[in-house]
Symmetry: C4
């Protein structure tokens, strides 16, 4: 099977996920700047963060499938599993938003991010296995430092937000971890890899 | 007419169906794990089941149209009838969810699954008729054991859920039937066919 | 400009219009067949009718653009005007539904149908003018009996529903007119044209 | 990277933005023309204005990418930034609508329009830089009078709506500025440029 329709379907799902979150943004009840601030101060930030995450996944998905010629049934299902994880983003984002960044919702948001990362890794692995030893995708990924670092940052955020009694402080530190991962992926590849190489040169 | 635009339109509709269901997931009112469990314990399962069903239809639709060269007006309308049945999934899923898997909603959900299966069968038949005796689709489908078995499992589920007084037990057994059909389609073709052949070898 | 992206964008908008209407279907509050009947008896019918209308427009749009090679800026805007009219279908359908087919909502629904038909006619005319005297679209349309008959049936429905005091009877007769137009477009071309030719042979 | 998938994803997002706004149109509670007028007199106008704006962006995006051969990672992110700004249109439009065109919501709506214009300009600049001195896009844009005039009209609208105490009068004058920009982009290029040339001939 060619990849064009898998890409078109994924684009459709990602376009909807990235856009329906705006429906969660409640319209302020009053008409002052303060009403706007009160209603959107959390919602707009979490919307932006999740928007960037969906953008990163679309971006990486786009890059990955440019190296993929043909797909098997297994790839279709691994791709659907990724889309399922991503489709829960609007739900977990809305919970973080409506509880004003409470601890447990942030833990669940982090687990959602981690699940999407795992699903992406599984999809990548299924494609590479199908392509055999001369897979161009395997060659392109290389050491994949960002892909290996992200789960640890997600886990750090999840654990920090899960410590009982840390309240909003713990939750915001966790959100900070998730923001760092997003920024790490936003910075163009060569630069971040050079930065990382300085830190773990022998690896 | 070429099939590219029919496929693009179907992809769009399926992408929306599979994604808007997440809007039905109510955000928990509290911020504890228990609130999350209470709010989503049914909703998340039914969402997952319907997500898998839409994924199966997209998958099969994708496979089928790779064998189809050109389409007539009849195929367009048979395809729209299938999309109409599938577009009711979010509605029937939400009813099952909000009644916490009550009997009648499960019956209606089963009828919806059955209607989609019938619409898919009609679409397949319209395509094969249009292609004439040398239809490559007819050859590819073969005995179509899964396609023939599914309606009986849907019917079994519908009848079990419709027996008065069985309550949630009957409804859950019916949901089990629908889960079995989904799993049957998820397992790659060759394996399931070998399993089925052992059971009905003379057929 | 090539037409591929205009078609893709239109497909996206039409796919969303045809699908979001299902969000208007309220989930029954109880869990009995009677609850389902009470909640959906009007909504399901109007959803089906509007679904068929959007399907007809997608179908005709699809056919029309298969004959169009390149498009100008004017065609893009005529197309957007058509999409705007169609995007109001979920709104006018919901009003008909929530008032249980009251007179004025049916009048507005009819005006919406008429506006979409006019926008479609304008789009067709803009394309033909751009193509000049040897337009393949002009040749393909021919006498366009269905296109000429539809506005009169819409107008008949609008006028009947607007007669004060006819209540639900007038509104349902008007809906009948709109159903007849939909059926007329559903029946394959040659048959309906033969039927019409018998009635207005000299024309 | 080729531009086809970037265009498809952008089309998907724009199609959703332009369509979900219709979900904001509240269905009138009564069934008379007066109920319809009361409920939609503001909402329909703001919906139409934002629909036209999204249409203009789609139109310009479509034109621009016909001149673009290949895109870099920076273009993908500049494009996502534009889509983010556009995705806030349904939110800011709904606020203007629900406050019946109050001052601050109109200021925020104007800032949203300005932000989208800036994001579009950034996207255009990123593409031109990537293409180097012989960029066909740079040649096609020319003096870009409309692109340079629009921000000033947005700013004028924002400032007028922000003057304390002007109330609905100030807000409506600001909306008038935004309508003028939309009309300016709707009129085909050559005509507006001739009009503008008469006014600033020496420039």
């Amino acid at each position: 099977m060619r990849t064009s329709r898998l890409e078109a379907f994924s684009d459709g799902v990602l376009a909807i996920i990235i856009t329906i979150m705006v429906l969660e943004l409640k319209v302020p009840e009053g008409h002052t700047l303060y009403d706007l601030y009160e209603t959107t101060r959390v919602g707009l930030l979490t919307y932006l963060l999740t928007f960037v995450y969906v953008g990163i996944y679309w971006n990486n998905h786009h890059h990955m499938f440019q190296l993929v010629g043909r797909v098997s049934g297994g790839v279709l299902w691994a791709n659907l599993a990724l889309l399922f994880c991503l489709s829960l983003f609007p739900f977990t984002t809305a919970w973080v938003d409506e509880t004003h960044v409470a601890q447990i919702p942030v833990v669940i948001y982090g687990i959602n991010l981690l699940a999407a990362a795992v699903a992406y890794y599984v999809l990548q692995t299924v494609i590479i296995r199908g392509e055999g030893p001369e897979s161009p995708l395997r060659a392109a990924i290389g050491t994949d430092l960002k892909g290996k670092l992200s789960p640890f940052l997600y886990l750090a955020g999840i654990i920090i937000a899960a410590i009982p009694g840390t309240g909003h402080v713990g939750a915001w530190i966790a959100m900070g971890c998730f923001v760092i991962v997003a920024i790490m992926w936003l910075i163009p590849d060569r630069r971040i890899e050079r930065v990382l190489r300085e830190h773990d040169a022998p690896g």
